[in-house]
Amino acid sequence: MKRILLCLTALCLLIAGELRAQERTVSGRVTSSEDGSPLPGVNVLVKGTTQGVVTDVNGDYKLSVPQEGGILVFSFIGLKSQEIAVGSRTTLDVPMSTDITQLSEVIVTGYSTQEKREVTGSISSVKGDVIENLPMQTFDRAIQGRAAGVQVVSGGGQPGGGVTVNIRGTGTINGTAQPLYIVDGVQVNSGGTFSSVSTSNPLSAINPADIQSIEILKDAAAGAIYGALAGNGVVIITTKRGKAGKTKLKFAGQYGISEQYNPYEVLNATQWLGLKMEAYGNAEQRAGGSYADGVATALNDFGVDDPNGPIPSYNWVDAILRTGKTQQYDLSLSGGDEKTRFFISGSYNNVGGTVIQSNFKRGTLRANLDHRLSKVFSMETSLGLTGSDTQGPSVNSGFFTNGAFTGGLFTPPINPIYNEDGTFNQDLINTSMNVVQLLNQELRRAGAFQTVSNLAFNADVLPGLRLRAFGGIDFADVKDYNYRPSSITAYAPGTGSETFRRFINWNTNYTANYNKKFNEVHNFGIIGGFEYRHVANTTLGAATQGFASPSYRLLSSGATPTSATSTFTSYKLAGFFANAKYDFKDKYLVSATIRYDGSSRFGANYKWGTFYGASAGWRLKAEDFLSSVNFLDDLKIRASYGVVGVQPNGTQSNGDFLSLGLYGNGGQYVGKPGSRPTQLANPDLTWEQSATINLGLDYSFFGGRIFGAVDFWKKNNTQLLLQRQLPIDSGFGSIFENAGEVENKGIDFDINTVNIETSGFKWTTNFNIGFQKNELVSLNGGLKTSTVNSVRYDVGEPLGVIYTYEYAGVNPADGRPMFYDKNNNITYNPTTTDQRVVGNNVPDFFGGFSNNFSYKGLSLEVFFNYQYGNESSIQTAQVLEASGMFNDNQVTSQLGRWTRPGQITGIPRAFEGGAEPGGFDPTNFSSRYVQTASYIRLKQITLSYQLPSSLIQRLKMSNVNVFVQAINLATFTNFRGDDPELALNNNLNQYPNPRQITGGVTIEF
């Protein structure tokens, strides 16, 4: 079926106009019960009618009511709704108080909003004020530990760097594992990095200080409205908008420093040489010579006359590090009247990394406008513009001598950093590059201009019926620049490369939304719509080599062009969707969603898929039998089921064209171009499906003193986009097909308590935890194990198993490393078949824990995040923990290597070159280099003081807040690797997250 005819039928709704009875007018003012200030923008509605107004700048309203008065409903986001009988009054002033039970909190659920009370899916929410003043450049970092079941793994300490977010575990192998991010309705690019020269997070387009709220749709029923895109959850970001009333000016500024977290204590030159002498001696002895001859050779090789004399030692780690400086300034202006509201902001960030020359600078501008053209028509727009510049060392994982951390940690300390004349020493033992010179002289830079903007028109054609047209764009131009001057001899004859990357990503949608309450008890809502998205990414790059002087830095100065590249990837999506929800007396709630999505990424006959979700809730508190239970504010049980889609991971090569048989670039030879088969066709390739069942409970007790939620969930990803391993002798490693299943299940638990609340002093606690279990249920065609692209998969095990040799320690008799063979016998020389699963990367649980103390204007927040039970390999240790067998610098633990018979140690004897004849190189990957990476981290402490209003009013200010905060201040872990937060398998040359301390001020006028 090449063409599909689709009918969208909007319900024909006949609304009988109600006959108006005799009316009179009531007016009044709505104020804050806390400070008596007027509240503009509060909805005032005559209950049971569509008659309503919004309070003006002074909090005043005026409204027609029936002759007999009726009941007025006052509602506003974050305030406790009130219903007041008018009676015979003609004026009615209402103080409103903050809703601590959060029941009327408005939750953005996709193409519409819901009050929290009504929600039946599983949604976590993070408010903007939680992350507003954090010295973090992207909001994804800031939500770490704030939402149960949402695992945030930062990509490292490079300012502005990438982050991965896993909502309810990873259920996919080759599909995208990252959630869909929607910023004010715009589906934005996320994940990975914008740049290849440094890490650059696409989400840095959004200034975290501009964010009003972040909603995380965790289950399939909540996400089903996004159908094929919702397989990993949906993160909805809403930026701040103006409120009618006096114009508010807000300024925030902060300044701080950061310091590198480095768990490795490395040797000095004397210690290092000691290990080397021993390694040479042992090897010489084994070769039939004398130990003393080996030692002599070592002294010769390393140019040391007297090993007992002072040996100059150079600290390479210190040489690559520095104290980073952070500056962040935000300015915003918001306000408006009943017709037009605005929020305008600007910000500037300048974050110096803790590695020399690493830096992130960003400026953002935002204008969010709302305008009501008439009673029927209104419009909204959000305009954002961001310019950023990232400069930093190579953060490619791997044993690269040009990595800042591999270079700094591994360079033997006997190497001087500088020559006597002050130039960089390039004659180095064990490495061809002086990493300090490299960081100073190599330029690695990515500059980006981005916009995430949108425009929407609404038509409120009938009471309760809104038509909306929306268009949004996420656009970025990124330029990578990498210049390697010939003054670095390993980069002879000097190379330069530049790459322009353009990311065009736009989406548009058209929706109709109708809400109506019938007979006071039947609350009904329906939304239907169409959405279209087009993503196209192109790059254009070139490189040249041979520069006359290191001062020439543009490509045109290079003598010889070495490469020219241009790439294109693109996909398109179209979807039709509808949701209907209904509740009876606020007591029984149901919601059903369906979405029909098509994607260009799939096989010719399988482009379209249907996704759906249904959920139901029962608010027990609304039942008569609980109405008299006073300590109970609210109790709701929820159940949902839904099936949503997972798309291919667009960052992998061919991600947009996985179903096609392809020929591509086949290199070149003797100046002629090559072309070669790159992929086998699978015209049947289609969506990966993710089905989630969720059972949840929302609770609130004692007038909001205790509230939270608990969710039990199970997510099954089936017909995975799985690379079936093909025998390499076919010429292809694999082919994509839909097969296999991954199951994730878990519990998300969230509790908020007000522990103490006395006059002036308040102590509140938030605790969340997500337990999860991950299992690969099946693979293609009944395979029990499969290795694709060097990654191992075992049925019955979690994804992310670590499969290697099991280390058995050191033989006390001779100091040689031992391993277990497949029969658990000890061997010196294991074979490939002795490898086994020794761990996996999936944590058992993780979450966050925060305490807030406030007394008068003083408040203190202490926030921990934690993770437990995941194993990680420590690749860095494969080099740093080698008993001095190679020339790389070592960590001090290696001084405990085996030296004498009978000694019990886990560190083999030093033996130059690694493997003893007939043995196995103990620095090969084995369980020796695998460790559990559980941790608790004191993620944030913030101490702030709100100046007394008596003082600041004299200064014509409305609010002044000064604060100091510390990020990553302390980490409690047994993990000996770089940073437990970054504990993934490929972790060589990681840039651990630094400790940061900043102080600042927020002023509102």
Partner: protein, 476 residues
Amino acid sequence: MICLVSISCDDLINVEPRNQIAPDAALADAASYEALVISIYDRLQTFTYWGRDMSLLGETLADNAFVVTSQASGRYTGTIRNTRNSHFNIWTTAYAAINECNTVIATIDDIDDPDQAKKDQLKGEALFLRALVYFDLARIYGYEPTKVPTTGPGAGWDKSVILRTEPVREAADAALQTRATQTEVYGQIEQDLINAGRLLPKDNEMTVFRANKGAAYALLGKIYLYWEKWDKAVVNFDSALNNTSASLMQAGDYATGFKSIPNDESFFEINFIQSVEVAGVEGVNNSAFSYTQPTGTNPLKLSTYGGMTPSAELLALYEPNDDRKGIFYVSASSTSNGVTYTWSNKYAGAGGVYTDNIKVIRLADVLLMKAEALAMLGDYSGAADLVTELRTQRNATAPVPQDASIIDFIAQERRRELFFEGSHRWFDLKRRGQPITKAAATAVGTIAYDDYRLLAPIPNAEVILNPEGLPQNPNY
């Protein structure tokens, strides 16, 4: 109110790739087939295949090299000690190349292109390259047909590699297969080279950078030498010599001869263009230059990971006036604190920084192989004439034996002439069933012929995928 929307939905969501194209568009005429053949040469350039390891790695496994670990930064420090799994690993590159060869061979005759000569040439090249790659696979992962050990873990192990001759065009074509026997693989190689010799033009019509008639016969002769079919070897070496414009480097020219591009002696040489094939950090990380030259003090003053030096045992094989000694030089590196080592200047950056062409087949090799085949047939004087012809151009004057001892003499001459090229020493010892007496400095001692390390391990994931058809080589 009812609204009806009719949309051609599939048109809305259609995107064609641009960096890649459909297979039928990619294989439309002879020119597009040439691009596919170019891809095969590009694969040969891979550093873990002919780009470096086929030249050097076997030298470290055998006895011609010693790796100074303090200079090597981990490069070849495992292979010099013959540790488990430290071995050639060409499986992936080789089979990708073979599938491309198979595609050319099986389908080029079907295209509608009037240029028959071009089609013949391309098919001939694909046949030659398929034979070369299968030969490398066969000798790395299996024993020679006549040299299966009778003792040790590999006793009776007649398994060679998986033999595919049909292109894989869809997933169904990639079904699991079983390791063929050595004889089956050698038979296929023989057939391919006979056909390649028929189809290929001579090197003067082509270039020694691509397959040619002389190279095909030379390789066929080499196959027969490994197969111990001495008379057929001689016949084909003669055909090779009759179909080449290669000439011996003259007396006094050995050291400088390696800097000419192409080498005078080349039958088949892999060319590298520095600016596109060895640019960036490729050179320092991967080149033969970087592996064999001292850092900082080499003739180009480049940084290297040079740790691979000629072994003391190799250096002891030369008589004082032998030209070939001139290619060695003694130097400290810029990081050895004055400690000097002897280095080979065979990879001298003749094609630019870190860039040298790789000689796959050259005349001296062909002459010595022919001499060996003659000697094995009992024609010792014929063999001695060839060896003398070569040695005269090397100013090596010691007399050449005229009896059966010439066989060992030729083996030594091959070390003197061909060290650090083609991993000849490793394959020569293996095909002759001889033990490896490692350089004393390695402390490894002697590796018996029936030691499991004579064969390379097959990638473990392949064995797990196909345990019945593709059993792992013994003891891995």
